[in-house]
């Protein structure tokens, strides 16, 4: 196989249509006659719905139906996580949700729905309906550790102390190891905040009847999983539903959950298959979809005088919100990473995933690792400082060494990735000069520079099923369409896949056409995109399927050229006789001849499934340079450089785009974003894009993305995960840089003026002008 297209910055296939504004997203496809659904959300954080009087709402002109939780005659509890189904009941996701519930567990829980002819009527009816709900209010709890206390309100009967899951790992003996003389102990609490994905296209779906089935068109990352869960939620056969995924305006993990597809499908069924649309408003997207878990960490390390770790402990409390969604998987990923990133013989680790009366936390870019990386890398910095070592050298000394093998996942660190990434990043940003220059500053405005790394892997093997299926169909001119279960959601998966097919099959890139939109009736089965799995997992099925097709093509070429198959090859669209390099015919001539021959006409196509039984480490680093205005409690990010080893880069411009996006999400996570709830009522306070401070154009410096390319030996094309890793190391790098500038190493996110004001005041860097008054 030649690498003619792999590694090239080819333009993504959909860029032209997107620049023209003619790409169709879900709302663009929906007929304007659709009835509009608006969801009735709970306005208590914990309670029981006693009664909903629908009479007044039903009188609003244009209202078609009002549904309440009491209309749900059959209660089918269902899971929502976009995990592959497990045939082992013990490994299935927790079924704790209903389409509508009379037992709301957070402010924003779904207790009813209005269906109307237009949005205005639906909104008017909804406002009336909100006032017609009678609740029995119950005490609520918002904090994970408080939810575990005796006497805290219990959310789900089968989970005492609200603990969804508790996991421990133990290696060696911490108790014995810390008896070693001369150890230095470093201990810290690290607090991460809840944030939201903020894809610019809100979640939207619509449903209608077709024959005896229901079609659901949804802005989702996981169409085949959505079909299964709609089946579970309605108690109907899965095949009764057809799910179509159009172009998606961003997902970032929120759309790796089943959101309102079951409700929308159910309503369409109740209305005899009428076309109904649910376009979730931004305010509801913030609190009624999924959010990132807020996780609180406690880490202790005991270090020897040479800076090596003698023993370490790790504890994490993961605020899961009111329903399980992805459950324990997110906290567990951090726990799993802890002993791997900085290996140590003696480790105790523990995590609790805890239900609280907050919005439901689910998957979000990084799947628990932006949180864990913050804790790990704040702590690593603190350890380096305690040992008076350069933070970068400390990391080089203690990080996972080359050759490290992880028995459970069978992952191995094949290359000197960490050092290569550090070296490249340090050179680009000028780390060594600046770190010396910025030492020992005084004055109101100071600068700092720092580095952070992270642990990540690719795909979900061996925890869950990894499978990918591909279909390639050849046209009369030798061009092909291909279909995959791995969805295009903006990352460029379709284009990367087309590059792989072009090289493996041996035809020009412009003859490879993705069928970009998945349809469960047509698309081969696949679980979607998540876990940074796309390029890695689809690679296996693409390579296998393209080779199958190539075999058929060469067999057909034998018929028309009389040459033996073993002396033939398909190279960039030409059937070549390998013995002398002579070009015998084009793929177009061959495809046409094979289809229309009266002697064995054949439609050239291939389809196959590959089950993946490997995984791959995907590492990198982030360097951040900041300027801190101490009196203003403001941080300006001056420069940021991420270097990643994602193996073979299939498309440099798309890969850089993934890194930029992760850096951007990390910048907001580090400096400004935080969802807030009112402690007294449990009501969300800033669920809109004005009060929730997503980082804007002005908060971004130039973003630098670079790569080291160590070909991943387990991979079909040498690739490994890249979608999520860039978001992981940003916040700790910024925190550590602020620390270098000010001497204050703050263990809380975001590092917004609010946080800095408190920290700077407490540390005496600034005087609180109101301190006297407030006493």
């Amino acid at each position: 196989m030649s690498k003619k297209y792999i590694g090239q910055a080819v333009t993504r296939h959909d860029a032209h249509d997107k620049a023209m504004g003619r790409i169709k997203y879900t709302d663009d496809m929906c007929d304007k006659g659709a009835l509009v659904i608006r969801v009735l959300h709970s306005t208590v954080a914990n309670g029981i719905v006693k009664k909903i009087d629908t009479a007044e709402a039903e009188k609003v002109p244009g209202v078609v139906r009002v549904f309440t939780c009491f209309d749900l005659k059959e209660k089918h509890y269902f899971p929502t996580a976009g995990h592959p189904w497990s045939t082992d009941p013990h490994h299935q996701d927790i079924c704790d949700r209903l389409i509508m519930t009379d037992r709301p567990l957070f402010y924003g829980d779904d207790i009813g729905a209005v269906v109307a002819e237009d949005e205005v009527a639906a909104s008017q009816a909804l406002r009336i309906l909100e006032k017609s709900v009678e609740y029995e209010e119950l005490p609520f709890v918002l904090d994970a550790q408080e939810a575990m206390e005796e006497g805290a309100p219990l959310l789900h009967e089968n989970y005492p102390n609200n603990v969804l899951a508790h996991t421990e790992i133990h290696m060696g003996s911490v108790e014995e190891a810390i008896k070693e003389p001369g150890l230095t102990k470093v201990e810290g609490w690290y607090e991460t905040q809840p944030v939201q994905h903020c894809h610019i296209e809100n979640f939207i779906c619509y449903a209608y009847g077709e024959g005896d089935r229901t079609v659901v068109v949804s802005s989702t990352q996981i169409p085949h999983i959505v079909r299964r869960v709609i089946g579970q939620a309605t108690g109907m056969d899965w095949g009764k539903f057809r799910v179509i995924k159009p172009y998606v305006g961003g997902g970032f993990g929120n759309k790796q959950d089943v959101l309102y597809e079951p409700l929308t499908a159910w309503i369409s069924i109740q209305l005899g298959g009428r076309l109904v649309k649910l376009d979730v408003p931004r305010e509801e997207t913030f609190i009624c979809n999924r959010i990132r878990h807020a996780i609180r960490y406690h880490i202790t390390s005991w270090m020897r005088p040479d800076g090596s770790f003698a023993a370490r402990t790790f504890k994490a409390w993961c605020n899961n919100g009111a329903y399980s969604s992805h459950g324990h998987a997110i906290a567990a990923k951090g726990l799993n990473a802890f002993p791997q990133l900085y290996p140590c013989d003696n480790i105790d680790g523990e995590t609790w995933t805890v239900y609280t009366n907050r919005s439901v936390a689910g998957a979000m870019r990084g799947y628990g690792m932006p949180q864990a990386s913050y804790a790990f890398e704040c702590h690593a910095e603190d350890c380096a400082r305690a040992m008076k070592m350069d933070p970068l050298e400390f990391r080089r000394k203690n990080l996972m060494p080359v050759g490290y093998y992880h028995a459970f996942s069978k992952n191995e660190l094949y290359s000197d990735t960490f050092n290569q990434c550090f070296d490249k990043g340090a050179e680009i940003i000028g780390y060594y000069d600046k770190v010396r220059k910025y030492a020992n500053q005084t004055g109101d405005i100071r600068r700092g520079i720092a580095v952070s790394t992270f642990w990540y892997n690719t795909a979900v093997y061996p925890i869950a099923l990894e499978t990918s299926s591909c279909r390639i169909v050849m046209n009369q001119d030798g061009s092909v369409q291909f279909q995959l279960g791995e969805t295009e959601i903006g990352q460029g998966a379709d284009t990367a896949a087309a590059q792989m097919i072009a090289d493996t099959l041996g035809i020009p890139f412009d003859m490879v056409h993705p069928v970009s939109c998945q349809d469960t009736d047509v698309t081969p089965f696949g679980t979607g995109v998540y876990a940074s799995r796309g390029t890695y997992t689809l690679g296996f099925s693409i390579r296998q399927t393209a080779l199958l097709l190539k075999e058929k093509v060469l067999e057909a070429a034998h018929q028309f050229t009389r040459m033996p198959v073993y002396n033939l090859d398909l190279v960039d669209g030409i059937i070549v006789r390998t013995t002398d390099g002579r070009e015998l015919m084009t793929i177009g001539e061959l495809a046409l001849a094979k289809l229309y021959t009266t002697d064995g006409s054949q439609h050239l196509t291939a389809e196959s499934t590959y089950q993946i039984k490997s995984n791959a480490y995907s590492f990198g680093c982030c360097f951040a340079e900041v300027e801190v205005d101490i009196p203003m409690c403001r941080v300006r990010l001056l420069n940021i450089v991420n270097v990643h080893d994602c193996g073979q880069v299939i498309n440099p411009i798309l890969a850089s785009g993934q890194v930029h996006g992760g850096q951007s999400m990390g910048i907001g996570y580090a400096l400004s974003e935080k969802l807030l709830w009112d402690e007294k009522t449990g009501r969300p306070l800033n669920n809109n894009l004005l009060d929730y401070k997503m980082s804007s154009f002005m908060d971004h410096p130039r973003l630098v993305a670079d790569f080291v390319e160590n070909y991943e030996p387990t991979s079909a094309y040498g690739t490994k995960g890249l979608g999520e890793p860039p978001a992981c190391p940003v916040a700790p790098a910024i925190r550590n840089a602020i620390g270098q500038a000010t001497g204050l190493y703050i263990n809380e996110l975001p590092l917004s003026p609010h946080t800095l004001f408190r920290e700077f005041t407490d540390a005496g860097l600034i005087n609180d002008p109101w301190a006297e008054e407030n006493k």
Binding site: A9, R12, D14, A15, H16, K18, A19, M20, G21, R22, Y25, K32, P61, V120, H197, C198, H199, I200, E201, N202, Y247, G249, G250, F252, P281, R282, I428, G430, K437, Q441, T442, G443, R446, R447, G490, Q491, G492, E627, N639, V641, L654, S656, G657, H660, G661, S664, I667, N688, L689, L690, M694, S696, F697, M698, H700, P701, R702, L703, V704, A705
Partner: protein
Amino acid sequence: MDKQYKVVHCTINGKKVERIVDVRASLTDMLRNDFRLTSVKKGCEVGECGACTVIIDGEGFNSCIYLAVWAEGKEIWTLEGLIGPGGELSDIQQAFIDEGAIQCGFCTPGFIMTSWEIVNSGKEYTDDELRKALSGHLCRCTGYENIFRAVKKTMLRHLGKFEEAEKVNSQGITEYPEPMPFK
């Protein structure tokens, strides 16, 4: 409550039109529903995200918080209007493609409209001014980096500064002046 309607006359993408609209409808709704100009995207419907930006009498507006009835007598341009009669792209659209400034594409139409206003203003924006002028648009995919390059390059080309435009590269580490004397 009875619905109220009003006739609106305006020019959309160079063509004079008139429509009867619900007086409560936003310009976004009118453009999307009545004219099928679906490049006008809805991301928040309260003027926060910029995805619905259109040009009204030469100036960018969030069409979601602009009532359809206010369009009376106005000249409105959407992304569809930037395309030539033979489907030709404008240079700013092409720059978004060439610089990899498009990922999911949902914020793209709004961004291109504001960028179009910038590059056709005849003004040379500083980097900070460019960021500020574009800061009414939110994007979660790109980190704005490639969008910045696309807009800056196109702006410089419009000003005849072709060599300077080619120097706007990725991997730009910025050296800032010293903030304060060090002790």
